[in-house]
Symmetry: C2
Subunit: 375 residues, 2 copies
């Protein structure tokens, strides 16, 4: 069976996808290493120690890239979070998380048997993490049990907000709480150095932000915690328990490796991406929409309040799907079907000319459905 991808030649502004498009090298890797377990051609018992293909070297460079002592390849950011939480879990354990956290942060905690205490954001319109509120949350967490970890989302996938990491770390460390930074949308897009930021763990996503096939992610940590999180099996001394021996034993890892040079280069021109995002915000707002999240924005993940589209959806036959239909006609992919009250998109690595077409598309759609000329 072969299934064609419907949107492959579309302009893609899907927040989940703009950072995960493969490089040409990664595409070549796919065919070269596609066969099951081919990365294990010369395995000596530990995926991260394989020399041919050069996984061991890559993992070392990855640790350096993350500003950590040690790195591991995971199936994704969520699996990295679970590994850490599961290792740190205790009876009556509590995780403190910012309320912009990805749903998998909550589900990881739930799977690890940990309670969650949330740090509220500022609400509409900026939904910012208030760093100082981690104090209260830790206090509340300690009332409910033992706080084993704090998770900060950097940035969150909903608003693209970048909280002040150092401020949160200072509060947490002062209270004996370690910090995991969820960088699913930053590692591979912008510079993230765990040592400079002071966090204890960092997780990233290959498919979301490192030009890789899914599923693959990264985990960075330091010697102190490695003993616990990367503990080895009592019976099988070269097998790490939390990885069940080996994690991504297949081709997504090879795409991560293939794209790594490109990724290291592209984080250097992140400022250009932020400029482009803010240019888009300005243009898009001029159509009568409103950016949610931090302003000025410091990330390509954009969330707009789109009342005008919602108003249209209430009076057209297809309801909320009218927008999806119109964008599809114009070969634009990435706005969730059915959604009109607010929409999320990403400008990351989308050429300015394509973004202009997106702006034109929305302008046309508003015009077409304007009260006067509505079909």
């Amino acid at each position: 069976m072969f299934v064609e991808r419907k949107v492959k030649d579309f302009i893609n502004i899907d927040p989940l996808q703009t950072g995960g498009r493969l490089t040409e090298d990664a595409k070549r890797m796919l065919l070269e290493w596609g066969d099951g377990y081919s990365v294990c051609d010369f395995c000596t018992g530990d995926l991260h120690a394989i020399k041919n293909p050069p996984i061991a070297d890559f993992v070392e460079e990855l640790a350096n890239f993350l500003g950590c002592d040690i790195a591991r390849v995971t199936h994704g950011a969520r699996e990295g979070k679970f590994m850490v939480m599961h290792s740190l879990a205790k009876k009556d354990g509590v995780v403190v998380v910012d309320s912009n956290a990805h749903y998998t942060t909550y589900v990881s905690a739930e799977r690890a048997g940990l309670k969650v205490v949330e740090v509220e954001n500022t609400g509409y319109p900026e939904y910012k993490v208030v760093e100082e509120r981690f104090e209260d949350a830790i206090r509340e967490g300690k009332r409910r049990g033992e706080v084993v970890l704090a998770v900060l989302t950097y940035p969150d996938g909903n608003y693209g907000n970048l909280p002040n990491v150092k401020a949160v770390v200072e509060i947490c460390h002062d209270r004996g709480v370690s910090v995991l930074l969820n960088c699913a949308y930053s590692v591979g897009r912008m510079k993230v150095k765990a040592d400079e930021l002071g966090v204890d763990f960092v997780v990233g996503s290959g498919h979301k932000s490192m030009a890789s096939s899914g599923p693959v992610g990264v985990l960075g940590l330091f010697e102190d915690y490695a003993k616990l999180v990367l503990r080895r099996s009592e019976r099988f001394k070269n097998k790490e328990v939390e990885l069940l021996g080996c994690s991504v034993r297949g081709v997504p890892l090879m795409t991560l490796m293939a794209s790594f040079d490109h990724v290291r280069e592209r984080v250097k021109v992140w400022d250009e991406e932020v400029k482009k995002a803010n240019w888009f915000v300005k243009e898009f707002e001029s159509l009568g929409f409103e950016l949610l999240g931090e302003k000025p924005h410091r990330h390509d993940l954009l969330h707009f309040k789109t009342d005008k589209l919602y108003e249209i959806s209430k009076r057209v036959k297809r309801g909320g799907y009218f927008l999806y239909d119109e964008l599809k006609k114009r070969r634009i992919h990435g706005v969730k079907p059915g959604r009109t009250k607010s929409i999320k998109l990403s400008t990351y690595m989308v050429p300015r000319d394509d973004l202009k077409k997106v702006l034109e598309a929305f302008e046309e759609i508003l015009e077409k459905y304007s009260a006067k000329g509505s079909p």
Copy 2:
């Protein structure tokens, strides 16, 4: 960066790899769906419910193929085992496993905080699982805690032995213990129907036996346990906790789907593969080697005691690596470098002509290093 695979045109008899070679459709899928998170183009919140690409349909057919009520895609057999063990885990929980179990069965139990009680095999030369010994093991398990699961390996990766599943199931069920069948080397090669065999869970491996890229696996189960193992998050009602929401959100799943028609056909000609394996055993033993494991053999995973090779290794400069060197020269891949006391290989889907070349190679190597003519 691009890395070439060294052994791609070699005759491949690696037990880890013969069942994971991609179909042509799967190769096309790789490029079509390689970009990170492209399978999520039209996601509505649950990987297994995605209609385009037709993942939902596939998962339903997969359940049917496994003889189960429900199927899930996992990162591999080990991750399926851990999901089940983690769901069933209790304080002082015990898992009973056959001693031919893959190391990941032990590591999964360790990660889930479960003790392991082993069912001894018969030892040299057949290393067979003695089904009746599950009785004693369960009794021992109950002395040590609460037996939450039995795991049977079908076949094991060391000898390719196929134990009597129904006999084990009867013993376990009579004692209130559920059975997980580890089919990493059977689902996708031979017919496995969980309902006919009576097991409660079945796990399989895409990269090992279903012509798929790694990492991907399958889990089959029934309604009764689905409520527990596939329990949904309290907060996010459409997210399954043990899958952290979604598992293989990427291209390995697409290769599994692409190869599924082929896989369903190839299990029908399994008898031919077993015949070929036994033909190979006869020829290989005629060189002075001895098959370990069940005789006659019922699987393509072959393990030979190779004293003659070990004797050579003791008197040549490269030691155990001489065999690897000689096979490499002849473009034969799959025997573990350094190994000579015993070697493991697989004949699965290796053309008879290629297997003849393998036999000739070993004959030549023995001749070359015979006491008289030794280099």
